[in-house]
Subunit: 644 residues, 2 copies
């Protein structure tokens, strides 16, 4: 039955005096057009090829190359003013990143120089391929912890350091491959499945875990647990209380920790003094190194860095596992760590892009990050991504483009070539203090309180992730976060809301009786509104729920001695779509009703099409399908419609 | 800010003359009440404890026992009339099931008696614990095929028959455990995730696979491929064409296949002759056995059953693998086969319950099926479930209760004890013909055509499952079916619809301009309706999509030389809920708009609550939130609102 028939035949019988407009039916889209537009919305929803429209062939080629290497585009508009901003920002984040890199490499159970390597090559590559102007690239605390935890489950980093390093490079390669693949296949929306609330909980838990692990360096303890959960860590701390705490270390660590926290506080209070917080770590390193050198505190039990390999990154392609057991293990670790790294970087990119009002293409960013990590794995780097704290400093220091990353990269290069011997006497305690002060800002309890106020289910996800990390491990916390996020989606698609409607007196409006106490139920008619599309995931539930509404109503009416329901009216305006299982469920509903009548009100155009295609309209009867609930009541219970 | 403030402060400013009703706010539900009602809707949506309300303690105990063993409930109302119906139905399905059981056991690569065992013990247990009055229990074609395929991937049934049998029992035990666990934990809704369309395709593909595999027995081929995909099978058939086809076998097989198909056709054409189709298989077996015995056709190359072990089931608890490699393999196979078996049984139960207008509890059914299979695994049975064809025959033969299953079970018992030697000369060809004629009804092309008409995506799922089974294997087809079903859900939660609205002239109604050509866009205002709740899974997409609507509109206006958009109005009536990621997205949207204004129209009560809780109302401005789109336009573009 064509749509024209529908316009005239079935609807003319339900024309209502006050709504002279028939329900419109959009022209039937050709199958190909419908398919291609769905494909476009799913994968190309941000219309990345917009600028390619109506251009000449050579221009398209140029645009294409510029899309892969955005630097070619913005480099042309580069001038001295921008360079000034980038230079200052680059120097600032370099001073922040050098001590952090050494510390984060320890989190990942790697020798300190690998952290510096990962601040040299990856930012350079990102500057050529990335689109964010404010992100600062390098190793980050949470990913370093995640990597360190997962890798040491496979290989012991102390007894088998060489294999451990090889596995780290393998994981980095696969992280890069995962990121680039997601970006190329435009599957970036998969990252969205880790909800904001879960990330807040996960980051907070990871921050606490990292801070607790720093107690080893902070207190000068030699024997420490490998586990990351809070119980094991506290056990290690207290069991070594008698003989393991080195008071000199604690003094150094505590002093500078206070210094760092005060500097951070000054930076927060007055935005103009952000640079105080930014250079404080480097100042601490310099002062403490000098102090230890002068007092020879390392002979009194203060543990020092001792040795950082001089020189730039060596190629490491030959060190990657391309076969054997470790290949699979490295791949698994790389995929997980890569996706967590992506989440951070994409979140940072989006935040700053919104603040400065420019667009970034999430999928393109992923390709840039992926290539950066693939190249990193071949040049002795481990997984690098965008860092919250460094990007914020970058932003406030006035960065203009990704050149700030190039500046930082060059400073790190100079450090690697010339300055590394100076770190020999740097106490581990100072690195621990720097890490503690860095991760404290990851604990966002304001966000957690807001989540509690807004959405309790989200809060459960947040707390689940938090406690999963703190009491279990980073992987368990991640698993809990993803599971709870999926459970919420499951709930959304399998248990949609339904509402019983009543008539608001002296109007033609029908509303939820729970929301509007004045709405009156219509005698003999049960009006239920279904608040979702009817798909296979919820069609059985909807059918059973509708029947249960009916049974409940019957019981109440029987107890009150009133006549039972004759008409079940389903208000279908929120039902945006229906599939074969949904049609099936409506059929079964109709058959279950037997003596009573099934009435449909306000079906959308897509739904009407499918009702006709499935011949359900013949089964139910075209005279039982109305444009509005008011029309339906007019026909089912005319006396009521007039009286009230 | 409390809901009372909201009632008076912000809404009074947007009271519209023709709608004197403020948007109602439901009373804030206590957290525990909200949580427990969500729990109830999710797991106990069919209110199974309804009858337990307001009952005495002893009565509750009785009801509880009756819930586990429904036989105690309906046995009291049993009378001679019902027994008459059940007797006839039981005898009819017994005559159908005996030849089918022998054939299906071969599908599962098991000796024929195991099929008969599985029609003896499981139906008895089901009769005590199940709730469906029409289902007929026993081995079925698709599950037998699935089991046979998956088991022979692990162990060769010819060279290592004993271990193969043990693995079959292990798989059956785990199938039963899976089914019972899903039922007890009320996770039955997980079965819904295999959509109706996917099942149609899967069953059709399995039917073709089974029919093709029968060519071995039908053509009398000795050497046959183990693979089930159509290419391998056709290769086997044609490569043995010269020397492997036994013409006597083909004659016997073809003759009786024609007979069976004709009998089936008679049964379909005239519902009164259904018994013709029902007893045709048994008649064929008797006639062909007699024929082979008389002519000693087995000496001329016609393969016969040869031997069916006499006697009833032996206990098999000691044969199940409780440790080692095979335990895990058996568990994996059992879980998959168990869930497929569940899908069939639940679908059958629901269909007949709807036709005869009684209720069955899906989760209770699963427990009954699970216990039945657990017991079966300990009594030499393999996975049994509800059979479409036998249940239909049961229904048409006039079954009244599950006693028909008990009658069938007793007939099978008698067969096992006394009649099995008579099957010695039954040709394999006749079993093949019976199976072919049985599975042909699984190919439901009417349903497939209907699916094509109704929902193209569903049709893709259907065809994907079909071709996956035919050209790959049963497991691949199942995987394809589940993946496509999940992809559809993914699409639903990540890419909701949005629509641009325009004003219908001379009314206050705003509708989709694609659907209503007469709707006029409002100059300077862009009205977009978002057709879904805004969760973390789609919040980024919605934000980007809204911005893209804006950009597209700007381009069009610029090209036409008209002034650009000043107000972005988001019509939020379909937005049933919003979470923290959604709030975040609205914030970022507001920031991206900068000079332009963000206006929200018609937010539901849940959404309003969260907008207040997150202080978004302060950010956007309470004067920018309206009850209806008409109110919003009144304020944003008053001139237009009056003119048109």
């Amino acid at each position: 039955m064509g749509t024209d028939d529908m316009d005239t035949k079935s609807l003319s019988s339900s024309l209502h005096r006050t709504s002279p407009y028939k329900v419109g039916v959009p022209p039937k889209q050709k199958l190909w057009k419908e398919f291609s537009s769905t494909l476009k919305e799913t994968f190309f929803s941000d219309d990345p090829l917009r600028s390619f429209k109506d251009q000449s062939r050579s221009r398209k080629l140029v645009l294409g190359i510029q899309a892969v290497f955005p630097i070619l585009e913005w480099a042309r508009g580069y001038n001295l003013a921008k360079f000034k901003g980038d230079l200052i920002a680059g120097l600032t984040i370099a001073s922040l990143c050098i001590p952090q890199d050494i510390g984060y490499a320890k989190l990942a159970n790697l020798a300190p120089q690998y952290g510096l390597y990962s601040s040299f090559v990856p930012p350079l590559i990102y500057a050529f391929m990335g689109s964010s102007r404010d992100i600062a690239i390098g190793p980050v605390a949470v990913v370093s912890l995640l990597l360190g935890t997962m890798l040491q489950n496979e290989i012991d980093p102390i007894t088998n350091a060489h294999d451990y390093l090889r596995l780290a490079f393998t994981a980095t390669l696969f992280a890069g491959i995962t990121q680039a693949t997601l970006g190329i296949l435009r599957l970036g929306f998969l990252i969205d499945f880790l909800s904001h609330a879960a990330i807040v909980g996960f980051m907070g838990g990871a921050a606490i875990t990292i801070a607790l692990q720093q107690l080893k360096g902070f207190l000068g303890i030699k024997k420490f647990t490998k586990n990351s959960d809070i119980i094991s860590v506290m056990q290690s701390v207290f069991s070594s209380a008698h003989h393991g705490w080195n008071w000199q270390t604690i003094v150094i660590g505590a002093t500078f920790l206070v210094f760092l926290l005060v500097a951070k506080h000054i930076g927060k209070k007055n935005k103009k003094y952000f640079w105080v917080a930014a250079i404080a770590p480097l100042i601490s390193v310099i002062l403490s190194t000098f102090f230890v050198y002068i007092t020879r505190a390392d002979e009194k039990g203060v543990q020092i860095v001792k040795h950082i390999e001089k020189g730039i990154n060596s190629p490491s392609l030959d060190q990657i596992y391309f076969s054997g057991d470790y290949l699979l293990k490295g791949a698994k670790i790389g995929i997980v760590a890569g996706m967590v790294a992506l989440t951070e970087a994409v979140a940072i990119g989006r935040t700053f892009a919104a603040m400065k009002d420019y667009q970034i293409d999430g999928n393109k960013e992923m390709v840039a990050l992926g290539v950066m990590n693939i190249a990193g794995s071949m040049t002795s780097c481990y997984i690098a991504t965008g860092s919250f704290s460094r990007s914020a400093v970058n932003f406030m220091a006035g960065c203009q483009t990704a050149v700030s990353n190039i500046v930082m990269s060059i400073v790190v290069l100079l450090t690697l070539l010339f300055i590394t011997p100076l770190f020999e006497y740097t106490p581990n305690a100072i690195l621990s203090s720097i890490i503690i002060s860095a991760v404290i800002s990851l604990i966002d309890y304001d966000a957690a309180i807001l989540i509690w106020k807004i959405d309790k289910f989200d809060f459960v996800a947040c707390m689940g992730a938090f406690f999963g990390v703190v009491f279990g491990s980073v992987e368990i916390g991640l698993l809990v976060a993803v599971s709870i996020s999926f459970a919420k989606l499951l709930l959304q698609v399998t248990r949609p809301r339904t509402a019983l409607l009543g008539k608001i007196p002296r109007t033609n409006v029908y509303r939820n009786i729970l929301q509007y106490p004045e709405a009156t139920k219509v005698p003999g008619v049960l009006i239920i509104r279904v608040d979702s599309a009817i798909y296979f995931s919820n069609s059985n539930y909807i059918r059973e729920r509708l029947l249960r509404w009916l049974t409940d109503e019957d019981e109440q009416l029987k107890a009150a001695g009133l006549p039972e329901i004759q008409f079940l009216t389903v208000e279908m305006s929120p039902v945006t779509d229906i599939d074969t299982s949904g049609i099936h469920a409506l059929e079964e509903l109709y058959k279950s009703l037997q003596k009573r009548s099934l009435v449909l009100a306000n079906p959308g155009p897509v739904v009407m099409d499918k009702l006709y295609a499935s011949k359900l309209t013949n089964l139910i009867g075209e005279d039982k399908i109305f444009l509005t609930v008011a029309d339906a009541i007019q026909t089912c219970s005319p006396k009521f419609a007039e009286d009230v």
